[in-house]
Structure formats: structure tokens, C-alpha cells
């Protein structure tokens, strides 16, 4: 590691309670599964259907189609996209298909976004510790390279 001139060795960060840093840093997600989830959510009708299923429990295809000014066939298509994305389950109840919300995919997508949120939060914490740490003088207009070359 090169000498960093006016900067002291980065002792401050080690003194922070960084035991919470995300481990593993990144976990593996299936790209195609995430793609399907995000794509399936990217439609207001599908989100409305999902919200209804998540809130009210299972419903038949006809019941789901009711509030929308679209054909039963269009709703069926939306349901198929959501089923393939793992957002809903479809069960046959006699001759009626009943749909219910399947939280697994949402949970995965949510964890995935959360993982990046934590990564960047920790990066910013780390940057703050670096710039605000002992010897930094609490910021102000000071530049880390103020004794170095002009920029």
C-alpha cells in the first residue's frame, strides 16, 4: 500500500464497531429468477392483483378480473406471468382455478435490494469514519490532500 502523505494509517475504522458489516458481502442470487420477478412486478395490473391476493387471500380468476377493465384472457395472461415468476400459486378447486400469493420470490428480490442497500450504507459509514476520524480535524474545508498537490 502506498504512503498516503498527510493521511494517517487507517486506524479509526478498526476502532469502529464494524462487527455488523455484511457477511457474506454478496450472496448468490439466480439472475433469471430475479429477472422474472422484477419483470412480473413491472405492471400496474399485476401489482394490483398481487396486492389483492396478499391482502385478501386466495381468489378465483373471475374474481380477480372483476375490478379491471380488461378481458378474462388478459388477466389470465398476467396470472401466467406471475405464476412463472413464482409470485402466485394456482390451485384447482373443482372446476375453478384459485390463485394465492406466494411470498418466496418477493422475499428473494427484497433481500437482494436490501443487500445492496447495506453494502452502500456500510461504504458511506466507512467513508465517514475515514474522513471524520481522529486526526481528520472534523472536516471543514480541509482536503485530504491539502498538503499535497493542488487539484
Amino acid at each position: 500500500m502506498p504512503d498516503h502523505g498527510p493521511l494517517r494509517p487507517f486506524a479509526s475504522i478498526h476502532m469502529l464497531n464494524h462487527s455488523v458489516y455484511y457477511r457474506p458481502l454478496m450472496v448468490t442470487f439466480s439472475d433469471s429468477a430475479l429477472d422474472r420477478t422484477f419483470a412480473a412486478l413491472a405492471h400496474p395490473t399485476r401489482r394490483a392483483i398481487l396486492t389483492r391476493l396478499a391482502t385478501d387471500g386466495s381468489a378465483s380468476v373471475t374474481e380477480l378480473a372483476e375490478p379491471f377493465a380488461v378481458s378474462l384472457m388478459a388477466v389470465s395472461k398476467h396470472l401466467r406471468v406471475m405464476e412463472e415468476a413464482g409470485l402466485i400459486r394456482r390451485e384447482k378447486d373443482g372446476r375453478v382455478h384459485r390463485c394465492s400469493f406466494d411470498p418466496g420470490s418477493i422475499a428473494t428480490a427484497s433481500r437482494w435490494i436490501e443487500m445492496h442497500r447495506r453494502f452502500w450504507t456500510e461504504q458511506l459509514d466507512s467513508l465517514a469514519a475515514y474522513l471524520e476520524g481522529p486526526g481528520r480535524g472534523g472536516g471543514g474545508e480541509k482536503s485530504p490532500n491539502e498538503t499535497g498537490e493542488a487539484r
Partner: protein, 145 residues
């Protein structure tokens, strides 16, 4: 909301340092190496060609596992705004090309850093929408918490 708010993650943080200092810490390898890894001391290397179209590679090591972020600078407006692409080199961590915008705003003696990480979802997912992913997902997560 617009297309840009889809699949977007936005995080802000006030840093008690001047804007130029924060910009330098964000862009200059000798500084980046000191802080830019969630695991203390985890940065293994940072190579950066800080010009529009220039590439950077940030290698980290966390508990024996290598994480290499890489990308290309898209906009450089020192010390105000930096835009670059972001992905992980390792197959296991790859997310596809995403875009990071960092805005540095001087606020008195401190600097407000706002980081936006966007472009997570598949292209198809940006076709039709009116809501941010995070809000949408949080909503559902709450329903099934």
C-alpha cells in the same frame, strides 16, 4: 414516478468534511484503498482511470472471498458529481451493468453525499410502472413480515 425511479436505490449521508475532501476520498486510489470496503482493510487494489470512458477496478477481500467491482466512468464533474457503471467481476456476484451516481453537496462545513444505484431490474421490467421497486417490495415485505 418516472422510469428512473424504478429499481433504484438511493442513500444519503452527511460527512463532516469539505466537498473537495470527500471528492478526493471517493476518487483517488490512495484514499479509496483506505475505506472502500465494508470489511475493514478489505480493499486489495483500486485501479482507476478517472476520465469519461476510463475504467476502474476495485478488488476487495472479505473473509477469504474476493469481490471485484468494475466499471467505467460516464460523467465527471469534480467535485460535484460522478457517474459510473458498476458490476461484479465474479460470476457469483454479477448483477449486470448498473449505474451509480454520486452527488456531493457542500452544506456549511459538511458535505451531503447522495448515492443512487440504479438499473438492477431487467430491461423488460422498465417498460411499464409507476412505483419505485423499493417501496413496492417493502410494501409486500411488510404484508408478509
Amino acid at each position: 414516478m418516472s422510469v428512473e425511479t424504478m429499481s433504484t436505490l438511493k442513500i444519503s449521508r452527511t460527512i463532516r468534511a469539505g466537498r473537495q475532501a470527500v471528492w478526493d476520498a471517493w476518487t483517488r486510489p490512495e484514499h479509496v484503498k483506505k475505506w472502500s470496503c465494508p470489511a475493514p482493510g478489505g480493499v486489495r487494489s483500486f485501479e482507476s482511470d478517472l476520465r469519461v470512458g476510463g475504467a476502474y477496478t476495485l478488488a476487495m477481500e472479505v473473509e477469504g472471498t474476493r469481490y471485484t467491482a468494475f466499471g467505467e466512468y460516464r460523467e465527471i464533474d469534480a467535485p460535484r458529481r460522478l457517474v459510473y457503471t458498476w458490476d461484479w467481476r465474479e460470476e457469483d456476484h454479477r448483477v449486470g451493468e448498473t449505474l451509480i451516481t454520486v452527488v456531493f453537496e457542500q452544506q456549511g462545513e459538511a458535505t451531503l453525499v447522495t448515492l443512487t444505484h440504479e438499473g438492477f431490474a431487467a430491461a423488460e421490467a422498465r417498460d411499464s410502472h409507476d412505483q419505485g421497486w423499493t417501496a413496492c417490495l417493502e410494501h409486500f415485505a411488510r404484508l408478509f413480515a
